[in-house]
């Protein structure tokens, strides 16, 4: 993450987005993209790299789980957080299993806790991306060795 972390926030209530955006603007330099329409968020996720996706659960047309599943599909490394007003254990468990949820937060949320979750989510995303890069490097190194080996063998044939 060379530039500022990018956060996507989805809630069908504009007031939630306004409040969280104001808080994050006060506390951090993060870029926040807010969406009241889940489908718009999905469209955005197709073309932009993001680090954390935070979503409400009950929304029209697409619920939070469906949205986070779409996010996982498009950007598997971005950490996924569910922010819900339904203290519904069932959907929480379902979410953790289905979409590989990073955290589950309940409304009314606590700002300090929200920030803590966002920061550890960012850390996780960074680690996952680092790991992916290391593996790619190793792969590249491995194929370089393979190639050298092949050339060596050919030289002796």
């Amino acid at each position: 993450m060379s530039q500022q972390p990018v956060i996507v926030l989805v809630d069908d209530e504009e007031m939630v987005i306004t409040s969280i955006r104001a808080y994050l603007a006060l506390e951090t330099e993060y870029t926040v993209h807010g969406f009241t329409a889940p489908l718009e968020a999905v469209k955005f996720l197709r073309g932009h790299e993001v680090d954390v996706v935070i979503s409400d659960f009950l929304m029209p047309r697409m619920n939070g789980l469906e949205l986070l599943a779409a996010a996982k599909d498009r950007q598997p490394e971005a950490a996924r957080v569910l922010l819900t007003g339904h203290a519904d254990k069932q959907s929480a468990i379902q979410a953790i299993n289905q979409v590989g949820l990073f955290q589950f937060l309940e409304k009314p949320w606590d700002n300090a806790q929200l920030l803590l979750v966002i920061n550890s989510a960012l850390e996780r995303t960074r680690l996952v991306r680092d790991l992916a890069r290391k593996i790619a490097e190793l792969d590249a190194a491995h194929s370089t060795i393979k190639e050298a080996q092949r050339r060596l063998i050919r030289a002796f044939l």
């Binding site: 069908d12 209530e13 007031m15 939630v16 306004t18 409040s19 969280i20 104001a22 808080y23 603007a25 006060l26 009950l58 929304m59 029209p60 007003g85 339904h86 409304k107 009314p108 949320w109 606590d110 700002n111």
Partner: protein, 269 residues
């Protein structure tokens, strides 16, 4: 004990149990909507709490900057204006959030003034909006609600009782809709009475079901979702207490329309 006496005793006990069941129905039906109501209030409260924290911190910051500028004789940095802009927009959000909470509370108040025994002139659209607030927090994301209120004089009625009827009809309509659909609520003057219509695009009812809807205990819903008391109580409230009428048309797979009529005035006791 004589068998006849025993039977009489049992009948009294049964009547008492039935009355208790009916008396507890309004609170029980509200209880089933509680999760949705809590959700409806949690969102604005979350916003207000968050905004309050941001506002307090922002004000601290503005004060520090203004003090610094007064002490050094330099104009305050333009950032102060940005912070003030944010504060203005947050207070607008707070206003909206409070209105949201208030309208739910107002709905709850109308609904829970159950002991209220006096006839009072009430606005039907207001009663409908109050009932919608309580019912629809759970359904509003999948069910579209359309309203069409014709200008109507206030109606003399037992408002909390009518609110009970409306709540049941709205919940029935929402529960009849699987997935997405529409509930249309309208009021008009018809035949010298005030008329309320509640139409849904839900599953409708078969002729066998239609024959039983007003029977006490008839329900097609699983335990926890329905007791089958709603329409029998609604019928009693509209017909016996208000001298009005309640009727419906329903088509399986298409939807249902319930129509209530109540007179504008109630007889003086």
């Amino acid at each position: 004990m004589e068998p006849a006496q025993r039977i009489a005793e049992l009948e009294t006990a049964l009547a008492t149990a039935e009355r208790q069941l009916i008396e507890s129905y309004p609170m029980a039906s509200l209880g089933r909507l509680l999760a949705g109501i809590v959700h409806e209030i949690n969102t604005p409260i979350g916003s207000i709490v968050s905004n309050n924290e941001v506002s307090a911190r922002s004000l601290e910051m503005v004060r520090a900057k203004l003090r610094e500028s007064a002490e050094t004789g330099t104009p305050p940095p333009p950032k102060v204006l940005d912070v003030l802009d944010t504060l203005v927009s947050l207070s607008a959000v707070d206003r909206m959030a409070c209105d949201r909470i208030l309208s739910v509370i107002r709905g709850l108040k109308t609904h829970s003034r159950l002991g209220e025994s006096d006839v009072r002139a009430a606005s039907l659209p207001e009663l409908i909006v109050g009932a919608l607030k309580l019912a629809c927090s759970e359904y509003k994301r999948r069910v579209k609600v359309e309203t069409d209120f014709a200008a109507l004089p206030d109606v003399e009625c037992y408002p909390s009782q009518l609110s009970q009827v409306l709540l049941n009809l709205i919940v029935n309509a929402a529960q009849a809709i699987e997935g997405e659909g529409v509930i249309r609520l309208s009021t008009r003057q018809a035949g010298g009475m005030a008329e309320i219509e509640i139409a849904d695009t839900g599953r409708g009812m078969t002729p066998e079901q239609q024959a039983k809807v007003f029977q006490q205990g008839f329900t097609t819903k699983p335990p926890g979702l329905g007791t089958g008391l709603g329409l029998s109580i609604s019928h009693d409230i509209v017909v016996n207490q208000h001298k009005g009428s309640i009727e419906f048309e329903s088509e399986p797979g298409k939807g249902t329309v319930f129509r209530i009529r109540v007179p504008f005035t109630q007889p003086k006791p």
